[in-house]
């Protein structure tokens, strides 16, 4: 007995989906994390804002939308749905401070055991209370399903000795396998929306989302629109002003920006660097910018030729012109990156690790040593959104002098994460964009051997050991370990990361209190219309 094709196709996609996740903490969160060791915090996250109630915010995220199961959120649209209709235990604000979401307060004596007191009277959109059972359910299922966040949540993984316990209805205790200085910061990961135990997200299907967030999702049609209405029972409903939010899925990045400029949209999650001057000059909208550890990368499939050979990967590294990437792709709105995800303004960044320069001759020599004296043909998989194609074009242009003949294989935007990313058979190299995270999360989610999102499919036990060790060390110890990791990553060149990219968000002139977030998260719920 078989169900209809599409629904089983759909649910199969949900379970086996490996999708790119975006969003998480920014570098520098180490500091913020340190400040919370041993302290408890209250729910002072809501700064009182006086705004006009009412209005419908019209927003346009990137369009791929395949699931509403928070554990599997990957794309911009999915994450955006989570931010409006769901809520984490802990939320990271624009200034990188942490505030309470579902959790009202927390304490940790040793950065290994964390006790969270949940807000009283907090409810899901279906009326049921949000309890400690739901929190345990949320995290347990991530590990049981081997969902993508399991990578960065390694400290809590039962397989490593971690556990989530229910103490009472409103108290949850997390015990990590070892102390982790970044843990609270990591808990703000965008798949971390607390899910209802009584209504398993695995059964929802694309039209439904049950969360406890400031807005309730009322309809969801992929490729068309998602609608939200204000949740009057939200604990901070006093600071939520829009009556409703609408997401529109417009087919091309340019049409979204054009609609913003023309006043048909109030907010766009992503602006291209080229459009920033135009948006600011449009008279209807402005570009909001935030420094970020978000980055662009060329990920190489280390399982198959030619990138199973480290010399070829290093050749690609030498064939990459980072300055041109910053100048042409980002138009200066970002920073040079060093093939690892720790940003220059992060205290853990080691400026002593040399940045590989653009050296076509060195690349050629490496290729010859690897057996590609006549040059190397590389198909680069990419898509037409989020600056991917520009990165691919720039690589193609400058790698030519190194004897690398790159061809661009452009895929549709609305299936990139579900069909082409993490594709270990058909794809040799592809462009990826990652949102900024704290150093531990950024490394754990993609470089650790156990990470579901290990997009280069490598197995590197030494690296795993370093990543795990760093979590429990003090600042000096961490700096030393991360320095070793940085050197190692530059050497191994699993991925070439040429640039960090600033967050660029487009906001209508009539909209207040919505700004670009360092982790590129669209916090829309506190916004309001000026008139």
């Amino acid at each position: 007995m078989t169900e209809k094709l599409t629904s089983s196709y759909w649910s199969r996609k949900q379970v086996s989906r490996r999708q790119l996740m975006r969003g998480a903490a920014l570098g520098g969160a180490g500091l913020a994390g340190a400040a919370l060791i041993g302290c408890s915090s209250d729910d002072s996250g809501s700064t009182k804002v006086s705004g006009n109630k009412g209005g419908t915010l019209r927003s346009a995220p990137d369009i791929e939308l395949s699931t509403t199961d928070p554990a599997f959120f990957t794309s911009d649209a999915e994450a955006a749905i989570g931010w409006q209709a769901g809520e984490n235990l802990i939320v990271k604000q624009h200034d990188l401070t942490l505030s309470g979401g579902v959790a009202a307060s927390w304490e940790t004596p040793d950065q290994r055991e964390y006790t969270f007191k949940l807000r009283e009277g907090n409810k899901f959109h279906d009326g049921e209370d949000v309890t400690a059972d739901d929190v345990k359910f949320t995290f347990d299922r991530i590990f049981a399903l081997e969902a993508p966040p399991a990578g960065q949540l390694g400290s809590l993984d039962p397989a490593n000795g971690g556990s989530t316990e229910v103490i009472d209805d409103n108290t949850v205790k997390m015990t990590l396998d070892k102390p982790n200085a970044f843990w609270l910061n990591t808990l703000s990961f965008y798949q971390g929306k607390i899910a209802p135990q009584h209504d398993d997200p695995g059964n929802w299907g694309i039209g439904k989302y049950v969360g406890s967030g400031p807005f309730r999702m009322t309809t969801n049609v992929p490729g068309e629109a998602t609608q939200f209405e204000r949740n009057a029972d939200y604990w901070d409903a006093d600071n939520t002003f829009f009556d409703a939010i609408q997401f529109y899925y417009l087919p091309e990045p340019e049409t979204r920006i054009e609609s913003l400029k023309g006043g048909q949209l109030d907010q766009v999650n992503r602006l291209t660097p080229a459009s920033v001057p135009e948006v600011n000059a449009s008279g209807n909208a402005r570009a909001s910018q935030a420094t970020s550890a978000s980055y662009m990368t060329l990920a190489m499939n280390t399982l198959i030729a030619p990138f199973n050979d480290i010399r070829v990967r290093q050749a690609v590294q030498a064939a990459t012109n980072r300055d041109q990437n910053l100048a042409k792709v980002l138009e200066g709105l970002g920073a040079i990156a060093n093939d690892h995800p720790i940003a220059p303004n992060d205290p853990h960044y080691d400026s002593g690790v040399a940045i590989p320069g653009y050296d076509p001759k060195k690349a050629k020599d490496l290729l010859t040593a690897a057996g590609y004296a006549d040059g190397l043909d590389v198909p680069v998989t990419t898509m037409g959104a989020a600056n991917h194609e520009e990165i691919a074009l720039t690589f193609q242009e400058y790698a030519r002098d190194a004897g690398i003949n790159a061809t661009i294989d452009k895929k549709p935007e609305d299936e990139y994460w579900s069909k082409w990313w993490l594709n270990r058979e058909d794809v040799q190299m592809l462009t990826v964009n990652w949102n900024g995270r704290n150093p531990d999360a950024a490394l754990s989610i993609v470089y650790h051997g156990d990470a579901p999102w290990n997009e280069t499919f490598h197995q590197d036990d030494a690296l795993d050991g370093l990543i795990e060790r760093a979590r429990g060390e003090d600042l000096e110890g961490r700096k030393a370990t991360y320095s070793a990791i940085q050197k190692h990553l530059v050497e191994q060149a699993y991925r070439v990361i040429p640039v960090f990219s600033s967050t660029l968000m487009g906001v209508g002139n009539n909209v207040q209190n919505i700004e670009a977030h360092p982790s590129r998260w669209p916090f829309l719920s506190r916004g309001y219309f000026a008139s």
Binding site: A274, S275, Q324, G384, E389, L393, E397, I408
Partner: protein, 316 residues
Amino acid sequence: MIEKATTTRPSSVRIKDIFKPFANAFRTPAGRIGLPLVILHVLLAVFGSYLAPYSPTDFSDATYVRPFTDAAEGTIPHILGTDQFGRDVFSRLLSGARSIILISAIGSILGVALGTAIGMSSGYLGGKSDEIIMRVADGLMSFPSLLLALLVLSVSDSLVWLDGVSSVFATGKESILVIGTMAIVHAPRVARVLRSATLTIKTQEYVDSARLRGESAYYIIFKEILPNALPVLAVEGSVRFSYAILLASSLGFLGLGVEPPSPDWGAMISDSRSILTRAPWVPLAPAAAVASLVVGVNLLTEGIRDAQKLPTELPE
């Protein structure tokens, strides 16, 4: 329908006969503008890449340069400006001419050849096979050409045998598919036109006498009918060429049939969407190029028609 079929003596088709309609067209006012315009484009297609001052794909630091601005000391000016990567628009334009004209020309020649063969045979032989062929042709003609192209290109990834063909011709898989699709799209329409021409011509005396002489059908079709169908063929071919260019540029615009960073005119226009306000010359240059080419071909078509003093035909 042809009202005045010639009753010239049959002869085999010589090369110069193919060029005659175009030469004649030059005598008409429309052709006087159209033919040089088309020839200019063809020359650009052939020699364009050698004339280009810059490489069409090279990045440079001179981004968003407006057209007709003075260049820095010792550098070649960017006549038509540059895009967001600093690539010279003029050079890209010249390089793009080759692919669009080549693909359109080959596609329409194939389609015309196929359609002529089918249409003449069907018209001459008549009977059941004629009926069947015309029904199939009608069916295929119910597809707007873009739709048929999209259908074929949608499965292009899975056609593995195409890789072999494309490596023989040293070109992309998509180009081969586009050419093939064009041939399929144009053939039925050409077949219809040639079939009606054949129906008229085959009533002529010399055809009868050839048949009585015992000539084979092949001989009659290609040696008697075809030379007299040449005027119609010339017009059809020209019309098909203009449609082929429109189709090729539309497919390029949709991102099908080309690979970045190839300077396909259609793709240049759609890629420029993000910088439309900042650099309107980037899409306007290829737009003008496509427009001038198709205008040229359309004028040429009119010229050919006028030169034959045929009553105006339906466009398809």
